[in-house]
Symmetry: C2
Subunit: 406 residues, 2 copies
Amino acid sequence: MSNDLAQLVMERCNALGAISEEEGRLTRRSLTPAMRAAHNLVSGWMRAAGMTVHEDNVGNMVGSYPADRLAARTLIIGSHLDTVRDAGKYDGVLGVLVGLAAVERLHQTDRRLPFGIEVVAFTDEEGLRFPACLGSRAMVGSFDLVALNLPDADEVTLAEAIRAFGGDPDLVAQDVRRSQDLLGYLEVHIEQGPTLERAGLPVGVVSAITGFSRTNLAFIGVAGHAGTVPMTMRHDALCAAAEFVLAVEAHARSVPGLVSTVGELSISPGARNVIPGAATLSLDLRHQDEHERLAGQADLHWRAEEIASTRGLSLRWDVAHGQAAVPMAPDLRERLAAAIVAAGHPPTELPSGAGHDAAVMAGLTDAAMLFVRCKGGVSHNPAESVTVEDVAVAIDVVGRFLDGMA
Amino acid sequence: MSNDLAQLVMERCNALGAISEEEGRLTRRSLTPAMRAAHNLVSGWMRAAGMTVHEDNVGNMVGSYPADRLAARTLIIGSHLDTVRDAGKYDGVLGVLVGLAAVERLHQTDRRLPFGIEVVAFTDEEGLRFPACLGSRAMVGSFDLVALNLPDADEVTLAEAIRAFGGDPDLVAQDVRRSQDLLGYLEVHIEQGPTLERAGLPVGVVSAITGFSRTNLAFIGVAGHAGTVPMTMRHDALCAAAEFVLAVEAHARSVPGLVSTVGELSISPGARNVIPGAATLSLDLRHQDEHERLAGQADLHWRAEEIASTRGLSLRWDVAHGQAAVPMAPDLRERLAAAIVAAGHPPTELPSGAGHDAAVMAGLTDAAMLFVRCKGGVSHNPAESVTVEDVAVAIDVVGRFLDGMA
């Protein structure tokens, strides 16, 4: 039965993948006519699965499947229907549709559980139009109302976009949920990395959403003529930057679970016959353990100072932005692992290097995530790919998880 | 007497430094009204030094000081009066004025030598307006007449610019000099590097104008999410590029006289949260010895292949441009060294990492260059600086060199 539902989920992913703001590629921003079309489609499927559907004022769509009793608490299964530009079909969408399929399976046998289930499609998780995780922040109450005045790329403010979508921006604060009404939060998502594929596993339990440190740094040396300044008299900023890039890589390889990336590098003056006088870099460092992340950041700062000093350069080091790691709830992780075992697969835990609504929802209630293997670890790309077999496992695991919570 | 002449040379450098096409900074392209003003000034000084002055069709200005006999050969002392954008006062100009000062010294005592002396200001050595070393190429006969149709940045062709300056582009080929009429070529120039300054020497003899190899290369890896792809599964193009940059540096440090520079580096996609998928670099490699240059180039190509292969990346390696080293004439180098010793200074030889008209003139006649110490090795910059004392040494050395040739 999971297999039939999985096939249905794949077809629904295809149907939603055709609803785009752009010809020839998938781009679906929140609070747009394309999103309205997506909501119409998904809400129809939700109603057919025995759910009532409403939208809150920030545009989150909530399908509710009742409990078998009154005054029950609610488990939220959420993800998002908005996409990045030129997106794949599964990031976000799969989580909403697997949640819906799990409810569908209950509805097919007319089963209710001792808790209500809400399947939520959150507004603007990707942040392509407005700040990321807008919808979950509004639900948690960590949404800054000042953001209502933020314009999108076409100078339409969030408040205007909410109004055009049918919400009332003045009532956003009324949609905040109460912790005591909730049993927990579950999000199913493609892994966006190659770990499950390499391990040969269909699904895995997320241990934590990693924290990150973002730093802008620059090595300032001395520009000079590429032909006339001897090697021993150079203060080449690119050589210092290169040493740092390799130090970052070696350091991350030596600390289990640490991923560090220099994703931006520009040099000045940037001419083939001029020794680089300055090199500007970004550093992105992530670990699920706060201690490891902060220690790693400090190690690399020291290393950059050392490189600059040895080479007679100066260093600029500006910590741009950081975010603490968000561990997933131990109880829910254990239950997810048990469901995976019951479904006949080895359980595994892995951190999520990317952010998700689950990191926001963890501020309100116990949160957990189930990752589904994706081909080549590719995401944010039309090449995103998952198999119907893995989707069937995910539906099965969520079903067993729900049974376990009952 | 060298000291008085050196003072005069410094004042003349200042006077020429004030003749610019741009307000507030020195930019003097060839064949412009500013260059006409510069020629007017210098030709006046030449005539006062007993020289006759003419311009050839490509705009080279030639001051001729006669020999003490008929049918004598000619020694050319040349450099250029055109500048880069936002230039210093000495690059090029100093060579013309030191040559003029040497003639002036002969003229003051009404001395003639058994050979004629021509002081030449070549057209467009810097190549800011038209192809570099245009004037010396025209004199040598290696000037491609097709270049007459090349436009400058304002769509004025070289032929039009020559005409506006008073030359006849159809007659350029008639100005080619005959080798058998020439005794040799000498060029005085600021070093544009820090070697003489570090050695505490006012002047040095150029051993060769180094050849160069220019390569464009790219490492092609796999872009990915900075948070979700574990370190061991990455094919980070920037890490490969960094390894190559350090390999280039280490290699050049291990080969005496080799200078290698990665002056351009760009990565794609170039976002702080994305693992670099491609890195494009330039490589500039110079050595005065052709064998060393070509061996170095081959070593680094092999090293780049090795880095790409070890990291599971692909490599693109495009040799963009190369130029053979031009050794200066051994006989003239010895004579210059002897003149330096006679002037009371230790002789030293050093390669020229930058190109000069001397490299072109070496195709026609024996060529030599005398480098003058410059502050901090800085050139192509308003901060270019030489001392009056070093200029006095240069004038003295050129005078003794001329005496030695007699």
